[in-house]
Subunit: 161 residues, 4 copies
């Protein structure tokens, strides 16, 4: 079984630009994360975009959906900014029925040392191997069905409706 990992950006992969003090994207850190984790899973990593999820459009979501549909794998992880992760989960659920899709992200960039990203990625990889087909969000150690979750922006946490 091969697990497909699609990268779309989000806090997960943000870097600090020391010349102007702003956060930006360069490359994904997925490969290094899986190496640090000693993961032996058979994964295929592909970056679809590198954007803040607040900037994600329905065209972007259609692109993600198309890639999920075309992927040879029926177990897919999508790294995604947390702000519109639920929106993308809804979008994908409308176009996919027979695959296990897990969206995950991070509240703190991987490169900042104190990130929740490695934990979330461990959970997402476990959930994608064990959950029935459907579209899920894996955050805060929990998994949520796409139609029963929202981000609580004041607390920075995901919760059921």
């Amino acid at each position: 079984m091969q697990i497909q990992i699609f990268i779309t950006g989000g806090t997960f992969d943000k870097e600090y630009n020391e010349l102007n003090g702003e956060l930006y994207f360069r490359d994904t850190h997925m490969k290094q994360m899986l190496e640090q984790s000693r993961s032996q899973l058979n994964v295929s990593i592909r970056s679809l975009m590198m954007i803040d999820s607040l900037e994600m459009t329905d065209d972007d979501r259609e692109l993600i959906l198309t890639h999920c549909q075309k992927s040879k794998s029926d177990r897919i992880i999508i790294t995604h900014g947390t702000d519109t992760m639920v929106d993308t989960a809804h979008y994908l659920a409308n176009g996919l029925t027979n695959k296990t899709i897990v969206l995950t992200g991070a509240m703190i960039p991987i490169v900042f040392g104190s990130s929740d990203g490695l934990f979330n990625m461990g959970a997402a990889l476990a959930y994608v191997q064990t959950l029935e087909p459907g579209v899920y969000i894996a955050m805060n150690g929990q998994y949520f069905s796409h139609d029963n979750v929202r981000k609580n922006r004041e607390k920075g946490l995901f919760e059921t409706l």
Copy 2:
């Protein structure tokens, strides 16, 4: 659903003693790990022992088994040194039938910055919520049934028999 986490030591919780250059145990880092992970799971953490798994005796394993049996939770994670993790999994499987037990650990101590521990803990928490009753090992992103796994000591990885 409450998840029970039993701490037994292992590389996971080792610290560096700067006075003599040796590794030792002080306290578990589980609470800080779950905080960094923004985990919202309902967990109960209890330290049963703090030992290197090469020093673990069958008396120790009996103690762990007893705690698993008595726990009100039927979803239990055990942090454990990797060297004899498989032995403990066998021992527990002989005495437990109706609970989901997931053993996990780390190759690099949590405090060393480049640890696999946070990833493994994320995976273990996901597996314990989704796997059928049984005794499992969660390492390298994978889960293994207790009766189909060994540690490859040359590579430092777990693999199926």
Copy 3:
């Protein structure tokens, strides 16, 4: 000999706000830095302000100058944002003649793990103990007299005029 450390903010002490993705100030990390460094120096730490140095006004600089003049110590370190560090050094040099003042900062926040701050602080503490009275900038392992230094913004480095 007591060394006075004045905190003014800058990248050094910036934190990541996971709720809105912006950098902000909370408290200085000086105490933890000196603990990690096993410093045995006799220091007095005082926060004068916590601002981005691009926002620093001459009123702020006058406040810093006054504190330097009034300090019982004649060896003073000032942590400062790098963007206007040279301006503040000039300002202080006009009002101080008999003290050794060393300004330092960081290109990467201390909390981000890969910061240059700990190195810079080690250098600043050494320079403040060994240099003649004057106003200096300690960055990039080097020390610069206040009247022979500029920040090269394209490279993010300090250099002589």
Copy 4:
């Protein structure tokens, strides 16, 4: 002015061997440390040995002395295990009169994240540029003349006699 950096090992450069749980040496981390520090100093790095300072013999010290004497630079930093750092300082002081030699080390390995090494290296580089010829130890933010220092093994700190 070029600064010569000689590497001899010590806690500074120790790594964790995840296969057997022991600390060992591989390569020095000096280059990465200076990169993280954004150092712009003109340095030449050379590894003379990679050993625990408890294993250092007078033959080893003679080798270090010879390299110090032959170096084109008269400003030299030596990274060294803390246990016998004072012994080596004495040895070098007997054979060198016209160079500034600064020995430094770390209580926690660089790779462990919470190391004092980056701070110590910042201080050592500043001291080697500013101190008169002589043999010094730079630890705990302080500098000590070779003939007025000892390591307090209970506290893990250097102190004057």
